[in-house]
């Protein structure tokens, strides 16, 4: 017995057929699970030139071997697909309970191809795979969809991951929402589901998840629980949620404000984790097996909801020049209900605000206009008015009006809430991310700002390529294992290897964990290169290269692409144009 469910379901929506096959041992050894499985399937199944919104694209839901094993923070599942937003192979993950229940339903992965002739939802139900008519839920919000599917089966234990109306309308910045409030957010996974007429995946599982060596695993669980709770590193986000970062990042003068025109927001305190705790906070909430519980349940005007997290707060708050916490929270809720990626949605409105202020677009909205922000967001969610043009993200919108440089994006995906001019390592992580503008494929904020595992100077470029590579590879492995990225603050590759070995019986050491991560990264890079996404795309918006920061300690700084990128490629064992060498691929066993 091991921690894998043992089966993978292959669903052809065009034919309406399902096949279930054993999970290949070689996949476990080389790609672990989760993101690794997803990227491997995409590479094997999606040909270059494929339209991401066609039936030829594939969509992979996958858990990791540690998902649902009771290991603290072992809750994640991954969605992988060819992104309609970036053109890259992307994976996007989410927590909650869905991943655990998907594995208990008996599946390590669901590989979905084709396009259903009419809206359907997929049901993974204790080893059985079925397609159901989704007429009753098509057009519904994510919350309504979840409730209706549970009611149809008369079982509130069923967990649902679904798209909202925005995904049905193929907005390129749509996510998949599980359990109403948890988002696999980036890259447009929701649009891919919409293009396949797939409204939701429901899971029901009561099967036992075994492990190879339960005694050893229990000992390791105790060890890593101690590490996660040591030094009080988890207490701040237990008490204040991820929004505790608002003030920290602002005080470092790296909080992007007004579409990255500055990096310090005078009114940050008003949308901070500290203010949330004093005002709208109702209680903390955690994912399956979580001992941190960073989730927030809020109450506004007598109505409860979840969030907002740090990134949506930033996107609808400081990046739009808005200090109204209630408006920001409402914006986050709209994104949850309609299935929009809150980071991209907020950043796209910030782009609109700058273009409107500069007279490039005839629109009344301006920075700081909370009511205007909410009105535009509702239009984006339903593709009405200017929302029709904004619903595919900032890059396509800004390009349409002749100013793509005002889209603060990498590979057409909006950047998150840290200004890379004062963060040379994070800037490199943004530029080289194989899924586009993003912070969770390598969170250099940890050493450059938070001082974990050690403090490294955010303004320096020396050794940053090595740091970035290490974080990228380790994160790929964590995403494959099914663990929450928040473990990276406390655990190291040895810990993950010990967990993997005890849970699966497959011998892993730290080097093998890191090699698996590197293999996944390189495979994802090759996928992108095959689609023409190469060195030219490994950069940041021109503003971040040429317009120095104007305030605080990082005043005068820009991001230093040339010296960082060249060394990064060398550290990766790639050629000087960023292409993995034959030797590197042979070393990693990629074929």
């Amino acid at each position: 017995m091991d921690a894998y469910a043992g089966n993978i379901a292959y669903i052809d929506l065009s034919a309406g057929t399902v096949k279930v096959k054993p999970t290949p041992q070689s996949m476990k050894e080389e790609y672990i699970g989760g993101r690794g499985f997803g990227i491997r399937f995409l590479t094997d199944m999606v040909l270059p030139g494929t339209d991401p919104l066609s039936e030829d694209n594939a969509l992979v839901f996958a858990t990791g071997p540690l998902t649902g094993t009771g290991i603290p923070l072992g809750s994640r599942y991954e969605i992988s697909t060819l992104s309609p937003l970036t053109g890259c192979a992307i994976s996007s993950n989410s927590g909650g309970v869905f991943g655990w229940k998907m594995k208990k339903a008996g599946f390590d992965a669901a590989v979905i191809t084709g396009k259903a002739p009419k809206p359907v939802y997929l049901f993974l139900d204790n080893g059985e795979v079925s397609l159901f008519d989704a007429a009753d839920v098509w057009g519904r919000t994510t919350g309504e969809t979840t409730d209706i599917i549970q009611q149809e089966h008369d079982d509130t234990k069923i967990r649902v991951a679904c798209i909202g109306p925005s995904g049905e309308q193929l907005s390129l910045i749509t996510c998949v929402i599980n359990e109403k409030y948890r988002a696999a957010g980036r890259g447009g996974c929701g649009a891919v589901m919409g293009s396949k007429n797939l409204k939701a995946i429901a899971v029901r599982g009561e099967q036992k998840i075994g492990v190879a060596d339960e005694d050893s695993l229990n000992l390791i669980k105790d060890r890593i629980r101690g590490k996660i709770e040591a030094e009080g590193v988890s207490k701040s986000i237990q008490d204040y949620g991820t929004a505790v970062l608002v003030n920290i990042i602002n005080e470092n003068y790296i909080l992007p404000t007004n579409n990255f025109q500055t990096a310090h927001f005078e009114e940050a305190e008003k949308v901070s984790g500290e203010t949330i705790k004093e005002t709208i906070f109702k209680k903390a909430k955690g994912c399956y097996a979580c001992i941190i519980r960073c989730g927030r349940v809020h109450e506004i005007e007598g109505k409860t909801g979840e969030g907002p997290e740090y990134e949506p707060i930033w996107a609808f708050g400081p990046d739009c020049g808005i200090d109204d916490l209630i408006a920001v929270t409402k914006a986050n809720s709209i994104c949850n209900e309609y299935g929009l990626d809150a980071v991209s949605a907020g950043a796209t409105i910030a782009c609109l605000m700058e273009m409107a202020e500069k007279g490039y677009v005839d629109h009344p909205i301006r920075f700081g206009d909370a009511d205007g922000m909410l009105a535009v967001l509702r239009q984006m969610a339903t593709r009405e008015g200017i929302g029709e043009e904004l619903a595919d993200g900032s890059y396509r919108f800004a390009e349409r009006y002749g100013h793509p440089e005002l889209s603060m994006s990498v590979k057409k995906q909006e950047l998150p809430a840290y200004d890379p001019r004062g963060l040379q390592g994070q800037g490199l992580a943004y530029a080289t991310s194989v899924r586009g503008g993003d912070h969770v494929y390598a969170y250099l904020i940890s050493p450059e700002v938070l001082g974990s595992p050690e403090k490294i100077d955010p303004y320096e470029t020396v050794n940053k390529p090595e740091w970035v590579r290490t974080y990228q590879d380790l994160t790929a492995a964590i995403d494959a294992l099914g663990m929450c990225l928040f473990t990276v603050f406390s655990l190291n590759a040895d810990d993950y290897a010990d967990l993997m070995t005890a849970a699966t019986g497959i011998p892993f050491d730290a080097a093998k964990v890191m090699t698996a991560g590197e293999r996944i990264w390189n495979l994802q890079k090759l996928f992108n290169l095959d689609r023409g996404i190469g060195m030219d795309a490994d950069t940041l918006p021109e503003r971040l290269l040429s317009e120095p920061l104007q305030e605080g300690a990082p005043k005068g700084m820009v991001w230093h692409r040339d010296e960082l990128l060249k060394e990064y490629y060398a550290v990766r064992g790639w050629d000087e144009t960023g292409v993995p060498t034959t030797g590197k691929l042979k070393e990693l066993g990629i074929h």
Binding site: K235, Y240, E274, L450, K455
Partner: protein
């Protein structure tokens, strides 16, 4: 490398007490606000260091010293202190000299985001 956390000195050493007084602002965040005010304005002798500022602050607020320092008097590993947005770790650490108008920000350990 550092003095005990609950050192009682509330005034700078005589050698700098005669120097011109400077005004600085100390900000606390997250769990530190459970024991300290969010913003504190201090008038302190010019030439004082961050260490001296922390002496004053930890004397004023019970419990803050234990949150900042270990039992052996070292600054806790994941505590971050900024001087005008720059982590003092990359200046002179606790020996960093403060100047008039400085904003000193104190952050507890944070893992996540």
């Amino acid at each position: 490398m550092n003095g005990p956390p609950e050192r009682s000195a509330t005034t700078p050493p005589a050698t700098i007490a005669t120097m011109q007084t400077v005004s600085i602002t100390v900000k606390t965040f997250a769990t530190f606000r459970e024991v300290a005010d969010a913003t504190v304005v201090l008038n302190i002798a010019g030439g004082a260091t961050i260490r001296m500022v922390l002496d004053v602050i930890t004397t004023r607020y019970d419990g803050l010293g234990k949150m900042l320092f270990t039992e052996t008097g070292d600054l806790r590993k994941y505590v971050n202190i900024l001087k005008n947005g720059r982590n003092i770790h990359f200046i002179e650490g606790l020996d960093t000299i403060i100047e008039d108008g400085d904003i000193i920000a104190l952050f507890p350990p944070v893992a996540g985001g």
